[in-house]
Subunit: 511 residues, 2 copies
């Protein structure tokens, strides 16, 4: 039997696409331009050096890095050495990182110099290595690994912790098999369709759930890869897209909103993009329209750290034609990738119909879906091979997903459910509102009531009362939030999502 | 672990693409038009009926059928019932079929009425069922199979015999795992890119190596599928492409040559095609140019029954632009699909460089490549996980394959090798030549010398001597065949390839 190993993609790129480029930037300046041939050579030496350092098969080797070419090298070298790449999230606090690195029992950490202070409380057995000179010394010294240790397709290749909004972070281990199949799915014509003709730009952090799987997909396909370096702002992203003629990029909606504003204010040529993929949270219809107006083909993918992460893609079905339909389609979370199964179930565990109306918790299963957390934590999230996603969703007759809410973000008011996501979308439709979040606050009579927090657009001056008045025209009366609080910015989690836990505790006493 | 089962694609089509159509023709008349929802229902009842008939997990259930919707139903129903679909080749003689059905120990055969005479010597335990009324009675009676028997991804789903040009036919078993991965590969953006937006026409016989894998790929993608029915001639093919707005079709070069001639003579709208894929033998540059002139995007895939069958696809690399380059690219056998590995080796087993010049036997390995024949025959074709393809090939620096010859068709003249394929291509470049074959004939002094057999185009009147004279201007002197014999038609094997074995024996005494 031929084992499914992600490291075969490296070998493929080396033999089949040796001259395709990998380009690294730092603050808008090109710092490296090499090809898969050179990349594979450096990776083989790095893998050899890791083995020589004492890294054994199965060991966790962690990265705490921005999106640069050395981080991309670690993606290939650590699994080639038979070890597990543990991508640490640089948005976390030193305390959180200490917990996670300890829980994962990382034996070695490779860290960017400007992030090293986050590792003050961490003492891995083989030390902390600087991703600059010390890393280059490793690559220079490394005896090329020509005979990788034997690996099974069931061995872990990557490990990533998810900062759930409840409890401690939990580890998700990705096997060679799961990542290989996820990579195939990402390159399907009906998936992200990543191909040898693409130039992908890594805006999604590589520490965030395999960088959405794009590093592996691009390597398998032999696509050109561009790394923006530390602190990639939208000015830099726009510059790089134009200079490198980037064809594929993924990002969260908040970054896309800033990118649109930047290009409108300062110009910029995004015409090379064949796909801008939004993920992480539901984009507003306005954002989709804005991107479409700029001529950027926009898609949405939905996923989770526990799903490697991609589960869906909004490639339009055969029947969809006009712009309005296209926009509405892009605002759904899309269709399930082949290889996976899903279902929506009610509180009693009964499966619900795919009618676009019935909403229930989404369960997902398949070869790249976790069936447990690393070291077996939180087993209640998994049942009979299904991952209970914690998302409440509908599925329509065309098989398109719409995430209504997180199970725990739904607002239960007087026995009826109110969707925080639906209220947020209604608020975002107000021309004065740039960003919005809705959370449940305790209420004596109704158990819970919604409370909205809004960020105004530049130059807008509406008060919370005015926003509430306008919102009343767009939503059922009983959905209306107790209050709309205008703030300068929403609190964010380490992966850039609105931190609703913090909002809930801040506004708990409001009613 | 989630098992990889091809029957999951049926479930996917049923749930995700219930309204996408499957259309069947018979002699140009539409005889059935239903959808994946109805297809899945019929398949589930057929699978239930097969179980009720006594078909057990692992049993071989054979088909002897043209390309019609019931054959496509067997593709899903037999594996769903836990059994193995054995596709019998209707071009074989009754004697050959008797040998193969006996060797495979088929327990049940479903056959078209006009082919039943080919089964005179076959007596399967559960009998021979007519694919018409008896089949419909099964589907009508079938208790829907709601709980398929447990299957491992390593279980066989399909079995196909390959009529090698030496020795007895050999069986190739396809596992659920191998077929699932082959299906993913077929749907890659850099592969055949079969998607939900496609309408595929099954011109390639479904009994021929999984119909090139397209039935599974189209089902996974939710593509519309069109079956042309018995004896699909090029007039019917052209009509159906036009009527159904077919986007994807595969065929052997000889059928494509006839299709071009037909469309030129009688007109026809092929503009819906996004891909016409040639496979089975190397097309001439003329054919590629002709199709391009008709506005048909033409690609080539190379494969073998032992590879499920697809190994390559000629999607152009990022750099290729103009028509001439595109044609040349389409005349190569293309690039290796992700998931597979290959190498070319010399007689001593040493690996040769990928320089487009060094020619050696092609070896292939990977999850959908056979590692043995059914029941363990001809083990010398397999070594250390590699399939020895018997094809002599070069691979260029861009990773593109060019098949030079079959190992056994190479002509060894005075210690030097002459490629029969290169001579055939040179002959085909003669405007008077419609088809050509070159074989080795024994020679007292040179051991072997090439001998050419040519079929003239309609209206052409060149003699063999004239063709030989013109050929002398296009090939090295020592390549020149001993003779060019003009014939009315070339003998064909059961899968439509030139029968060189018969030519060799017919012309053995020519020098």
């Amino acid at each position: 039997m031929s084992e499914l190993l992600v490291t075969d993609f490296l070998e493929r790129a080396r033999r089949h696409h040796p001259r395709r480029p990998i380009v690294g930037y730092d603050d808008g300046v090109e710092v490296v331009r090499y090809d898969y041939g050179a990349y594979a050579g450096r990776v083989a030496r790095l893998a050899g050096a890791l083995r020589a350092l004492g890294v054994r098969p199965g060991d966790r080797v962690a990265s705490l890095c921005w999106n640069h070419h050395r981080h991309l090298e670690l993606y290939a070298a650590v699994p080639l050495a038979g070890a597990v790449l543990h991508t640490l999230n640089l948005r976390l606090s030193a305390e959180e990182i200490a917990y996670i690195a300890g829980h994962a029992d990382d034996r070695l950490i490779i860290a960017d110099a400007d992030l090293a202070h986050l590792l003050d409380g961490v003492h891995p057995e083989l030390g902390v290595l600087d991703s600059g000179d010390a890393y280059e010394a490793l690559v220079a010294a490394g005896p090329e690994l020509t005979e990788p240790p034997p690996r099974s397709e069931h061995d872990l290749a990557v490990l990533c912790y998810t900062s759930g909004t409840t409890g401690r972070p939990k580890g998700v281990g990705y096997t060679h098999r799961g990542l290989s199949l996820h990579t195939f799915a990402a390159c399907l014509a009906d998936g992200h369709a990543i191909s040898a003709r693409d130039t992908v730009l890594h805006v999604v952090p590589l520490f965030h759930a395999n960088g959405w799987g794009v590093p592996f997909a691009a390597t398998m396909a032999g696509a050109a890869q561009v790394l923006p370096g530390p602190h990639p702002g939208v000015e830099r992203i726009a510059e790089i897209v134009e200079r490198e003629r980037v064809t594929y990029v993924g990002m969260v909606p908040t970054v896309a909103v800033d990118l649109v504003a930047h290009v409108r204010a300062h110009g910029g040529d995004l015409s090379s993009l064949r796909a801008l993929v939004l993920g992480g949270s539901t984009p507003s219809l306005d954002l989709i329209r804005d991107l479409d107006e700029l001529g950027v083909p926009v898609f949405q993918g939905w996923g989770m750290t526990e799903i490697s992460p991609m589960a869906t893609f909004t490639r339009p079905p055969a029947e969809i034609g006009d712009a309005q339909e296209r926009h509405r389609n892009a605002q759904t979370q899309g269709r399930l990738l082949p290889g996976l199964r899903w279902r929506i179930v009610d509180d009693a565990g009964r499966e619900l119909p795919w009618d676009g109306t019935a909403a229930g918790e989404l369960h997902v299963r398949g070869p790249w879906v976790a069936t447990s957390y690393y070291l077996g934590e939180a087993p209640d999230r998994f049942a009979d091979g299904w991952l209970r996603t914690g998302d409440v969703a509908t599925i329509d007759a065309e098989g398109r997903l719409r995430v209504v809410d997180r199970v725990k973000d739904l607002i239960k008011s007087g026995g009826e459910w109110i969707s925080s996501v639906a209220l947020e979308q209604a608020l975002l439709a107000d021309p004065d509102v740039a960003d919005a979040a809705v959370v449940a606050v305790p209420h004596r009579r109704w158990q819970e009531r919604p409370l909205a927090v809004a960020v105004l657009r530049d130059g807008a001056r509406a008060t919370g009362a005015q926003l509430l008045e306008r919102l009343a025209e767009r939503v059922p009366r009983w959905w209306l939030p107790e209050d709309v609080v205008v703030v300068d910015a929403l609190p964010r989690t380490s992966v850039g999502k609105t931190d609703k836990r913090r909002l809930r505790s801040r506004y708990a006493g409001r009613t």
